[in-house]
Structure formats: C-alpha cells, structure tokens
Symmetry: C2
Subunit: 282 residues, 2 copies
Amino acid sequence: MRAYLDCFPCFLQQALRAARIATRDEEKIKRVLDAVGSLLKDIPLDSTPPLTGRLIYQKVSEITGNPDPYREIKKKSTERALALYPCLKSRVAASSDRLLMAIRMAIAGNVIDFGANWDFDLNADIDDILEKDFAIGDYDAFKDRLAAARDIVYLGDNAGECVFDRILIEELGRPVTYAVRDAPIINDATKEDAMQAGIADVATLVSSGTDAPGTILETCRADFLQTYRRADLVISKGQGNYEALSPADGPVFFMLKVKCPVIGDHLGVAEGGIVLQAAEGL
Amino acid sequence: MRAYLDCFPCFLQQALRAARIATRDEEKIKRVLDAVGSLLKDIPLDSTPPLTGRLIYQKVSEITGNPDPYREIKKKSTERALALYPCLKSRVAASSDRLLMAIRMAIAGNVIDFGANWDFDLNADIDDILEKDFAIGDYDAFKDRLAAARDIVYLGDNAGECVFDRILIEELGRPVTYAVRDAPIINDATKEDAMQAGIADVATLVSSGTDAPGTILETCRADFLQTYRRADLVISKGQGNYEALSPADGPVFFMLKVKCPVIGDHLGVAEGGIVLQAAEGL
C-alpha cells in the first residue's frame, strides 16, 4: 500500500510517541522531530508506510541512544496476554465454530498495538471483536484454502499479539512457519517476544529478516523468501504487514483490526472494523 | 506561550488541512508537507506557535499559488453568523446579566475556527457555551476593569467570530478599537471580514499590522502598538492571540474556548472549557 498525505503528520506523531518512550530528555525528543520532519521530503507518496516507519524508528534509536524503547512494554504485553490465554482457549473450546472463533481471537490480539494506538482496554476490545460482524469476511475462501494447505506461513505483528496467534495456530492443524521481525522495531514481535508467547511450541519460528514494522519483501532474507514463496497459505497479521504486502499476488489472507482512518479508506471499512481479506484472485 | 512538543505534528496537520483547501493537486500538497517538515528544525521550542503558523501558511500560499485559501470559507462563516445575529441579540436582551451573556456569546463565536478544528456544529456549540460554567472565570475583575476603562482595545480572532464580538462591543458602552490581522492568514479576520461583520459601525477598525495568526507584538505596526500600550483594557480573543500574548504584562483579559489539548494543559483546563482569564497581577 502506498503512503497517503494523511500519513505524513502521523509519521511525526509516531516519532514523538516513540521518542517519549525512549527518553525524557525534551531536547533529544525535539531533535527526533527535527530529523523526522527533514526526512519527509525524501519519502515519495508511492513508498509503503512501514518503509518510513523503519526510517523513523532508526532516527529515534540513533538520537535517543535507546535501541529498543518498547522492550519493557512488549514484555508486559506478552505477560498480560499469557494471563488471558487459558480463558481464551476455553472460549474457543466452547464455540460452535472453533476455527472462526480462533480467527476472531487472532484479530482481537491485534488491538495490542502501541505503535498505532496508545490507549486501549484489552478485555473490552476482545469482547467487542468476538461479537462483531466482519467488515470484510472471506472466511469461506480461507477455509477452502486451509483444507488444501500443506505449507502455511504466518506473519506475526506485535508482541503480546503472538499469544493470540498461538491460539489460531493450534486450531489450524497444519505445520506453520511463524515469521517475526529481525530486530526491535516499535512493539513488533521479535524472536524473543514470540518465544515468550510460546510460539516455538506450536510453529517453526523464523526471522523474516526485515527490520521494518511490516513484511516488506525487498527487505527480507533469501531463505525466508523461499519459504514465503513456497507457502500455499500466508496469514498476514495487522496493519503493518497489510501496508507492506497489499496488493499481494500470492495466497495471502490479511487479518487485522482497522486502527487508522487511512487504512480504513483504503479498504473501504470504518475505523474499528475487523477484516479477514483474501488477496485478489483467491 | 511557548511551543510544546505536541505542537510539531499538529503544525504538519495544519499545513495539510490548509494546503487541501488551497489546492486539489496532490503533488503540490506533498511539497507543502515536505517544506513544512523541513522547517521544523528551525523552530525552537521557545517560539510562540503563531510565529510558526505564519511560516506554515506562507509556505502554503507560496507552493499552491493561492494567497488566501480560506477566502470563501471566511465569507460564508460571516454570513452564517450574521444570520444568527438577531436571535443572539434578543438572547442578550432577555438575560438577567447582559454583559456576562455577551461575553459568553463572544466566546461562543470562537468555535468558528477552521484553523484548529474542522468540524463543528455552530448552534449546538453556542447552546453549550451559553450554559456551561467557566473553567476560568475572572468576571468580577473584568467588570471592575471595564467600569474604569476609557480606551479599550479588542483583538479579533477569526472571521465570522467578529459578528459575536460585535454583540459584546455593543454591551461594553465604551469606545473600542478593534484590531484585525493585516493580511489573510488561515481564517483569521482581516479588515474586509470585520467590515462584512459590521464591526466598523460599533468600533474603530484597525489593522494590528501582523500577518501571523495571533497578535505577536514584535510583528505589529508602531501606531497599533501605541494604541495597545495606551489601552486600559485589552480583550484578547481566541487561542492564537492567547499563544501570542500570554504571559501578558498589560491589562489583558483572554477570552477563548480551549480547542487543543496543549493549550488545555498549559491553562490547566479540559478541552472544550471556556475561559475568561485576567492577565497576572490584574
């Protein structure tokens, strides 16, 4: 997905938020804003937002001297999600359509996003998502694709959310390769976060090689790309991966909660909407 | 008032909004964002926001080739306010405290602000403001100062709002000099807008000389400064004038509705709060 004009003020807003988490030094935070402001002119409208996200967070790390500002937040998000795990599992078990409920869970986990939205009430958000209609719901196509799938690639998004992904993986009944970011970027899951969430117990855990907040294929490792190209089903979680991959030409299903008006307009869905979208041609 | 870190993403947001009003050419709008992003590094935290507002709107005009993007919007705001005038007048006439009601009216007129807030429901906002408690209400001090005042300077804010200011001026019962911006800047009132609102019938209409969206004294004309310094009561309307003048050392009363969280924090007032604040020492 390309960047829209509305993304540019938001880039600065994201820089401010991350810089504040990285440091309390107002002078350094101002320098982050200056640097990010100055780099906007080098970002064409046809570049994907996660590519810019990467540049922004590089500036934040460089100027504040903090390479992983969200370290503690990520750890706590995962702990919080793990505490919910038994309850979420029993809700899946009690459901008449376990797979659909697990998909809803995985999307509910996508509310844990300190990059896009700072305030959220986890329990209320989960209850809301488990009940509400899909704004885009290609569930039948997903079930068909899953029935025939042998190699599934699952693109993780945020730390904490991994716990919810684990619930869906446990319902898929197929071998899954779970890919995370190669280096800390915002609150996105790295191997360390996915391990904490127990992903390694249910899937093959790999790094996609990217250090962007979205799976931009051009920035991924060759061995991951091989796995990705071979997959007959790709589950792409969250806005960052959507921005990086859409329009996708492979067997990709996007699962996300719409948390920004630009993505909402792009998808034709209201903010807050939940989406299970098959890539075109599936 | 100094700029805060949160002002910087907002500067870019304001640039985007104004550029969209000035042109539909996406490429030009992107160039405005690039230019405004690049100038952030030259804006120190101790500069007042209207000084930056001036730079932003200069870029908008320069790049889009539109020197007065809000021309039509301003004209319509004034027409809309003029249509309400008879009704507002009769509400003042029916009030047990005409002066207080007229002050509330003047503050209600401050909701007409396309610079800070795009969407507003004028009638609902007016009703709300006419009823609600002042977050800061130095009404007694204002009355005392008014009783002894001979030269009143009234600093106008937005077009449209002038009609509401006229209602207050008509209740003051003293000679008033009404000052507006020297050149078009956002939707701020210029002489043309104040004329349309009928200000010239009730006050001496002058230009302050500034082309910033706030009365920054350093940018004002010498003859206006003389009038300003001589005044024994200054009524300062709106956020822009507050940002430009606070902390004021003269006999200034600020009247505004708080429309941004930064000013709210600075004043210790929630967003949406209405303020009649005497400058310190009054």
